[in-house]
């Protein structure tokens, strides 16, 4: 982390000046964040400890301690959502990282120098999630979606497939869309990392008679270690927040097959108006993200002292 590279061999006068000025640099941003988020976060933690419900005029919030969390543990729908989330996250992270790496390797090739390819790469990322979801709903349509049309014409299937009709298949189709949308950012990350690897290493390897695969395994992959670690953690955190897609494509169906934790929290809060329980569910998601971000920060600085 910062400490390792910041050990500047300079006089004490300089350090004192830094110590005085640093808070001024940092304070505005921290104050803004604290002002905006402190109250909502604390409120949501408190809400999860109540049995909140709508009643005449406002939100009634009788205290109920850890009841919501206890209920959470025994709730079948929560277990199902957790399993779906686990599957979704693991597959998406693997999918995005592998696809992102392949795309980056491809675009790093001398034959792919044209900057137009990079613009194409950014297209899925740039499109509004709401429009993206409706577009794919249309693409997946069993009767006149372009996916069935194409596959039929190519002879890969012999009758229309109801892509979103089976719970597990629907989950995978949603995965496909989100992987498509999320890969660009990770691919750019890898592409930038690849371009940082000195060409001399590859030249030396070739002189030594290494094959392309060996060069990849012993030069490319190790240099990408950090980038891969970042990609995995970032994508995990973002996978936990998927919502728009499920809302438009499947509304959690069929038969709750595409209900993930974030969607369940939404449904409980906004459809059933169980604000306390929903807050508890959402806090679980936040805790999971927080734990993962701790792992991320640690991964970036193995052995660095925590704080100072």
């Amino acid at each position: 982390m910062a400490e390792a590279t910041r050990a500047l061999p300079l006089g004490t006068g300089h350090r004192t000046r830094h110590a005085r000025v640093a808070p001024l640099f940092l304070a505005p941003a921290l104050i803004v964040l604290a002002l905006l988020l402190a109250y909502p976060v604390l409120y949501s933690i408190w809400l999860s400890l109540t049995d909140a419900s709508l009643s005449a005029g406002q939100l009634d919030t009788p205290f109920s301690g850890l009841d919501n969390y206890q209920r959470l543990i025994g709730d079948k729908s929560v277990l199902a959502a957790l399993l779906n989330t686990l599957y979704f996250t693991v597959v998406e992270v693997i999918g995005v990282v592998v696809l992102g790496l392949l795309t980056a390797l491809l675009l790093n090739h001398p034959m792919a120098r044209w900057s137009g390819f990079r613009v194409f790469l950014l297209l899925p990322w740039a499109i509004a999630p709401v429009a993206n979801a409706v577009l794919w709903k249309w693409i997946y349509h069993s009767n006149y979606g372009i996916l069935n049309s194409l596959l039929l014409q190519l002879g890969l299937i012999d009758h229309n497939v109801t892509w979103l009709g089976d719970p597990f298949r629907a989950l995978n189709m949603v995965l496909l869309v989100d992987i498509w949308k999320s890969t660009p950012f990770i691919a750019i990350l890898f592409l930038a990392a690849l371009q940082n690897i000195p060409k001399t290493l590859y030249r030396a390897a070739r002189v030594d008679g290494a094959s392309t695969f060996e060069a990849f395994r012993f030069i490319t992959l190790p240099s990408l270690n950090t980038a891969i670690a970042i990609a995995v953690i970032l994508q995990t955190i973002w996978s936990l927040r998927v919502f728009d897609l499920i809302f438009v494509l499947t509304k959690g169906g069929p038969a709750d097959g595409t209900v993930v934790m974030n969607f369940l929290a939404y449904r409980v809060t906004f459809n059933f108006l169980k604000f306390g329980y929903g807050a508890a569910l959402a806090n679980i998601i936040f805790l999971a993200s927080l734990l993962l971000s701790i792992i991320y920060v640690r991964l970036m600085n193995p052995g660095a002292p925590r704080g100072r």
């Binding site: 976060v41 990079r118 930038a192 955190i237 906004f270």
Partner: protein
């Protein structure tokens, strides 16, 4: 690097590139096609691509509909621009402080900053609404700017911090020897050479603010509606106007595409330096 490229190897790369272009742009092309076809043509099997099915009616109707796409674009532009500007103005100094200046508990602060953008929107929507309502900020662009700032600021800080840490120390040391204060060093030396990374962070913040839906839904009423809301207006309960929605989506994606085309090289360089120095 391209010493012994067999024909097969080159053909393989070309094939891979074709697949890539198709995969990346295929759905977008379909989006554009859908926006200029009548719905009738889309529901034919196979889709009816005869010249008579093409129409610009969808685009015309988009602008005359109750969804107010025109105003939404202006709102989104203002909100995204100000969020981005504020995120950079507040985030760059903070990132520099965490990178170069001595801060106690920098690790914890960094973690908290990172965690700030991980809250599911559901969690904070209601308390934010209550506060905003009491302050009379509902349906204002200012509110959206502030809310978006709360989750864009962490990313900006994080990307820029990585970049600042990767800068060669010599420049700053020289400036200090010349008697420059940290502030002067930051403004006169560090910022000018950080432009690519600043752009990269700015693009990310801009796109996130431009595309955000949930808070825009909850926090606005009529005047501050943004583009994602205008697009969602075409998906009703009893009827979905698909062609018009695709037209609205195409219009809304155009400014982003333009920006990414103009800044494609700076984005790439910015991310390189920002991500990897952690």
């Amino acid at each position: 690097m391209a010493a012994s490229q067999s024909i097969l190897g080159r053909a393989g790369i070309v094939l891979a590139l074709v697949v890539f272009v198709f995969a990346a742009t295929g759905p977008i092309v379909w989006l554009l096609l859908s926006s200029v076809l009548q719905q009738q043509a889309l529901t034919s099997i196979p889709p009816d691509l005869s010249p008579s099915s093409f129409t610009l009616a969808n685009y015309l109707e988009v602008f005359s509909s109750a969804a107010q796409l025109g105003r939404a674009i202006i709102n989104s532009l203002i909100v995204a621009t100000f969020t981005t500007a504020l995120a950079i103005i507040l985030g760059a100094p903070a990132a520099y402080a965490l990178a170069r200046l001595e801060i106690k508990h920098a690790g914890t602060i960094l973690l908290m900053v990172l965690a700030a953008q991980m809250f599911p929107a559901i969690v904070i929507a209601i308390p934010l609404f209550i506060t905003a309502s009491k302050l009379g900020l509902i349906d204002t662009k200012l509110l959206l700017i502030l809310v978006y700032l709360s989750f864009n600021l962490p990313i900006v800080i994080w990307v820029l911090r990585g970049f600042f840490m990767g800068l060669p120390l010599g420049l700053e040391r020289a400036a200090r020897v010349d008697g420059a204060s940290p502030l002067q060093t930051f403004l006169r030396i560090v910022l000018p050479i950080s432009l690519p990374s600043l752009f990269a962070a700015a693009i990310f913040a801009f796109i996130e603010a431009w595309n955000e839906f949930f808070f825009a839904l909850i926090m606005t009423r009529q005047t501050a509606q943004t583009v994602p809301l205008a697009i969602s207006a075409f998906a009703g309960q009893y009827q979905t106007m698909f062609g018009q929605m695709m037209a609205a989506a195409a219009i809304s994606v155009a400014p982003i595409i333009l920006l990414t085309i103009l800044l494609r090289n700076t984005i790439l360089r910015g991310f390189a330096d920002g991500m990897l120095k952690g």
